[in-house]
């Protein structure tokens, strides 16, 4: 079954990738498809790249685990493009840059800032890419029983080959195709599930009750070690079929075991979580880490996802493939519409999974809720068919996102840090994929959603202020940008380290450490502004900013009428431009 689901996706990816292979001579051809991508194709590619495993599988899993409030994540994911449309898309494209570090250099003319930005790209790329490969491995092993590394290697191979051969042009066609593919493979199973589950489950889905007792003999596969808390004696069946009763207290389940909980047995607790359907599950706000501050939790997630989207380097790079600023703006607007269609559906999977597979929360495998649903609904031929379709869609999600991320990582290394030719870019893609595979192999335990959210947080606290202030504030200086990006990077990375290694804290403080965007983004903005105000921007800074806002409806004035470039034309002097840009302050 698994072969039928994944092999076609990989083959089609490689075939479409080959269709994109065209004569390529420069790094611009490789990284931004020679800037020839129309708004509709580009917005489909942006959406295809953006709908990663976190959207296809993760949101429904979070609904099972954290409640209906998890549906705020996709709202923030989409809102980012509205902000991008209003603030970033057109001016950034008009800078003529190829990557975000390029933009930093084009606006502020500093190579050290460019290198810092390239390092930030590598951090975000790593945080985002490792979970894609990891989830590919986990889903294949959950559905098809293959070892974990097989999925990781397949995903890395398909992505690296497509990119090394066809670069951004191939990635564009593949991502646009995979958007349509994912949309169809997400909507049709959702509608089939809604019809097939019957009125009883539909009623239970909209009237959630707490998951306290198993409704039937329920096998739970523990891929990782979990400590369960039992309040009363619980009858279970072990692998050899014999019944036994677990005494109350703590019970450590070893890795790789399957326990069958008997019909009517009480549901054990899991440390640091509440069962699906518990008090607050049905509330439409996101109580992060069960801290008791749902409003703060919701807003923290919205800030991180919304502003993070504006700073994701692989998404920004896609906007540089538009032929001009106007097309980039239209791309952003169309992307909002395309994503809005997709995000109407994760809620259906989440609420149905809460009724049908709530036990996934015990083993922490809620990420597989979407692919686990069909077999619960139909034991006949249709269940496996729809599981196969959803697995294929999920695999397309890993591939499309990995393509964009690998490209942006290769661009940061071979275009920004160690500039080289086209051949080096192709090899960097393969090398980067190999390194990420090595990073992903020991990362099976790490929660994919957490890593991706950290990627958003780092992007929101570094590139979002750099782009917004760079485009709209002429007084930004190199020192200010450098200090702001460093402060944002250190603050978000420090909070990540604190979540991983520091002793746990309670209350609103735990939200601000787990999700630092509400303070790290203002901190980065404030640092940039204050340090810039202490310095003095160069004389050409106003002109460098205004240039980004100049539309392409006109050819530059120099080409019309008199030859303004001639040295005898006094209005051509830079002092004349400075006199005009001085009006910016008024």
């Amino acid at each position: 079954m698994i072969v039928f689901a994944v092999v076609p996706v990989v083959l089609v990816t490689l075939l479409i990738g080959l269709r994109g292979v065209a004569a390529m001579r420069t790094t611009s051809d490789f990284l931004i498809a020679s800037r020839r991508v129309s708004p509709l194709l580009n917005s489909a590619a942006v959406s295809g790249e953006y709908l990663s495993a976190a959207s296809f599988l993760g949101v429904a899993g979070l609904v099972v685990k954290d409640g209906i409030g998890a549906l705020w994540y996709p709202v923030g994911f989409t809102a980012g493009y509205v902000a991008m449309l209003a603030l970033v898309a057109a001016p950034m494209r008009r800078s003529g840059a190829v990557t975000v570090p390029d933009f930093a250099e084009a606006r502020l003319a500093s190579t050290s800032l460019r290198r810092l930005a390239a390092v930030v790209v590598l951090v975000i790329g790593g945080l985002y890419l490792v979970p894609q490969f990891r989830t590919a491995g986990l889903v294949l092993s959950a559905v098809g029983g293959s070892p974990y590394w097989v999925g990781v290697v397949i995903a890395a191979f398909a992505a690296a080959m497509t990119l090394a051969l066809g670069g951004m042009r191939a990635a564009t066609y593949v991502q646009a195709f995979q958007f349509v593919f994912k949309l169809v493979l997400f909507i049709i199973p959702a509608i089939w599930l809604l019809i097939a589950v019957g009125p009883q489950v539909r009623h239970e889905a909209v009237h959630p009750v707490e998951f306290t007792h198993f409704a039937r003999d329920t096998p739970v596969a523990f891929e990782l070690e979990v400590t369960l808390e039992l309040d009363e004696p619980t009858s279970v069946r072990t692998a050899d079929g014999s019944m036994s009763v677990l005494p109350p207290g703590e019970f450590a389940v070893p890795q790789g075991t399957t326990i069958v909980f008997a019909d009517g047995a009480p549901v054990p607790g899991v440390r640091g979580g509440s069962p699906p359907g518990a008090e607050g599950w049905q509330r439409p706000l996101l109580d992060l880490r069960d801290a008791g501050y749902p409003l703060l939790g919701t807003l923290a997630v919205l800030v991180a996802t919304m502003l993070g989207t504006m700073g994701l380097p692989h998404v920004l790079m896609r906007f540089h493939t538009s032929p001009n600023g106007r097309a980039a703006r239209r791309t952003a607007a169309l992307t909002v519409a395309l994503l809005s269609v997709f995000y109407l559906f994760p809620g259906i999977y989440g609420t149905l999974a809460k009724v049908l597979v709530p036990q996934l929360y015990l083993s922490g495998a809620t990420d597989t809720a979407v692919v686990a649903l069909p077999s619960q609904v139909d034991a006949g031929p249709w269940g496996p068919v729809f599981t196969g379709l959803l697995t294929a869609g999920a695999f397309a999600a890993f591939l499309a996102t990995s393509l964009g991320l690998l490209l942006v990582v290769a661009g940061a290394i071979s275009h920004d840090l160690l500039p080289g030719g086209l051949a080096r870019l192709r090899f960097t893609v393969i090398g980067a994929a190999a390194v990420v595979v090595l990073l992903a192999l020991p990362s099976a335990r790490i929660d994919a959603g957490v890593l991706v959210t950290w990627g958003f947080t780092v992007a929101a606290s570094t590139f979002c202020p750099l782009l917004v202030l760079g485009i709209w504030w002429s007084r930004l200086t190199v020192a200010g940008a450098f200090a702001g990006v460093s402060a944002g990077l250190l603050a978000s990375a420090g909070a990540i380290a604190a979540t991983l290694f520091a002793p746990p804290v309670d209350g609103w403080l735990s939200i601000l450490i787990a999700q630092p965007a509400p303070w790290s983004v203002p901190l980065a903005f404030a640092t940039m502004v204050v340090v810039s105000l202490f310095g003095r921007p160069p004389a050409w800074s106003g002109a460098a900013m205004l240039r980004l806002h100049l539309g392409e409806r006109h050819a530059p004035s120099a080409h019309r009428g008199r030859d303004l470039g001639h040295s005898s034309w006094s209005a051509r002097r830079s002092s004349a431009v400075r006199r005009i840009t001085r009006r910016l302050d008024r």
């Binding site: 449309l85 003319a109 909209v206 709209w472 050409w540 002109a543 539309g551």
Partner: protein, 119 residues
């Protein structure tokens, strides 16, 4: 050899330049022509007003809806077609955001056309 075979027509100099490592020197953005600068200033000011109002509208939506849901927990019990209204409220931002981005796109393009009339 078939007549349709593609030939590389790049000059050897260009190929050499592409293959060579790019040398970085101190760089500054190209100068802006005074006539362009005047037009760019007009576009910049027009776009700034529009961008600020669009982002403000987005913020009202993103902050206002959670506040509303927090203030009226009773919405959990009101049902439309059997589904709690507060759940449906999590789908309401999508049409609103599509409308907002369409509005902003139209305004931004119109501002460019006004500031830079057809030659």
């Amino acid at each position: 050899m078939s007549p349709h075979r593609r030939q590389v027509v790049t000059s050897p100099q260009t190929r050499l330049a592409h293959a060579r490592r790019r040398h970085r020197t101190s760089w500054r953005p190209p100068a802006l022509d005074p006539a362009d600068a005047r037009r760019a200033l007009a576009v910049y000011k027009a776009q700034r007003v529009r961008a600020v109002s669009a982002v403000a509208a987005l913020l009202v939506l993103m902050v206002g809806l959670p506040l509303l849901l927090r203030a009226y927990p009773g919405l959990d019990d009101v049902r439309l077609l059997g589904i709690p209204v507060s759940w449906l409220a999590l789908l309401a931002p999508y049409p609103a955001m599509v409308a907002l981005s369409w509005w902003q796109l139209r305004r931004a393009e119109k501002a460019e056309e006004t500031a830079e009339p057809d030659p």
